[in-house]
């Protein structure tokens, strides 16, 4: 129990940030028109490609001789990049189509 209380004390800033970000996310999306549901889903999916950053940070502290961890982390980077780059490209294609339709 003490450990959990300590954790809260040490990470209070992060807990604030988390709470505000949750409300921010709710606010940003709550007024979205129905036509944008799919592009937004795709766009926010691309944003979840930020995991790439985590994969990079984790591989940078991995020992160069620990091949199992290196392979896993490299796979993580490949998959994270696909999520990020592919997601952004797919979203921009969707939005292009959307703009054409409007004209």
């Amino acid at each position: 129990m003490n450990e959990i209380i300590n954790f809260f004390e040490q990470n209070i800033e992060i807990i604030y940030l988390l709470t505000f970000a949750v409300f921010l996310g709710f606010e940003i999306i709550s007024k979205i028109p129905t036509v944008l549901h799919t592009p937004l889903m795709s766009g926010s999916n691309a944003i979840s490609g930020v995991v790439l950053i985590g994969a990079i940070l984790v591989i940078r502290v991995t020992e160069p001789t620990n091949y199992f961890a290196l392979i896993m982390a490299t796979l993580g980077i490949v998959l994270g990049t696909i999520n990020l780059v592919g997601g952004l490209a797919v979203t921009s294609r969707m939005l292009e189509m959307f703009n054409k339709k409007k004209k």
């Binding site: 129905t34 490609g49 950053i53 994969a55 940078r60």
Partner: protein, 279 residues
């Protein structure tokens, strides 16, 4: 390089990400929003590459190779996919993101020789769980949308009860493992298999027609794992981006249900009742 400058860049990237998401939710500025998000994420990746760390083994060769391979696969598959197959493509990408987060947890465990203090270990295990659920769930959703998995293939008896049971076991295991402060490799494997099973029973009962809603939910899940990965690796941009995706994904789930005239409960626990043919 100076840490202050790098932190500043990360801060700017966070602001750009928020503005990007904001613009994405308006029809006229959506394209610009997508571009802004891309810039923000690129900045974040660059900072992650050069940020000073405690032990710097760097392993840049693996990073560059991974980014090149992933980038090429991502661009080609995004360009080639026909417009009608977009939802399953998003689902596939989402699954990759989830697996990536799960792998981050796994590598973190290996790097720390499977030993850590309770709260930290609990967070990492929870992240492993969510990442694997998001991964396998998205794969099932992809299978259902692309037609390779029919609803009939996945008719699991008592899926709601089984599903709840698996979730309880997973939570209990997380608590037990984190209190013991260490894990064995076989325990990790067992826990991963359990997570994957939970992911399957979570998505299996949802009918093909309701899949877009599920993808929005799984997307939120990937966002949350990204945020937790941000806590594990101590990166604020990941934390912010992940939480934004998480909360917006949950709202989007509710909005999509409303647009389809379905309640969230009927989507996830309806067991095909009222669900139309996949298509």
């Amino acid at each position: 390089m100076n840490i202050v400058i790098l932190d500043g860049v990360l801060f700017v990237a966070s602001v750009l990400l928020i503005i990007g998401l904001r613009k994405l939710s308006h029809p006229d500025s959506a394209s610009n929003g997508n571009r802004l998000a891309a810039v923000a994420l690129a900045l974040g990746v660059i900072v992650a590459l050069v940020y000073p760390l405690e032990t710097q083994n760097n392993n840049y060769i693996y990073i560059v190779a991974g980014i090149c391979i992933g980038g090429i696969i991502g661009i080609i598959s995004a360009k080639k996919v026909p417009m009608t197959a977009m939802p399953e493509m998003v689902s596939l990408f989402n699954g990759f993101g989830g697996l990536s987060a799960a792998l981050i947890s796994l590598v973190w465990l290996v790097n720390n020789h499977f030993v850590s203090e309770a709260t930290e270990l609990g967070i990492v295990l929870f992240n492993l769980f969510l990442g694997l659920v998001a991964f396998i769930g998205s794969m099932v959703a992809y299978g259902k949308l692309s037609g390779s998995l029919k609803d009939e293939h996945l008719r699991i008896p008592y899926s709601t009860i089984l599903n709840s049971l698996l979730l309880i076991i997973a939570i209990v295991l997380i608590i037990i493992f984190s209190y013991s402060g260490q894990l064995s490799i076989s325990q990790t494997v067992l826990f991963s298999i359990l997570s994957l099973l939970y992911g399957i029973t979570f998505v299996a009962p949802v009918g093909g027609a309701d899949m877009p809603v599920v993808i929005a939910t799984l997307n939120a899940l990937t966002g949350i794992t990204a945020a937790i990965s941000g806590v594990i690796t101590d990166n604020k941009l990941m934390l912010l981006g992940g939480v934004l995706v998480g909360s917006s994904g949950i709202i989007l789930t509710l909005l999509m249900c409303k647009a389809m005239n379905r309640s969230v409960i009927s989507v996830f626990f309806g067991n095909f009742s009222g669900a139309k043919e996949a298509g």
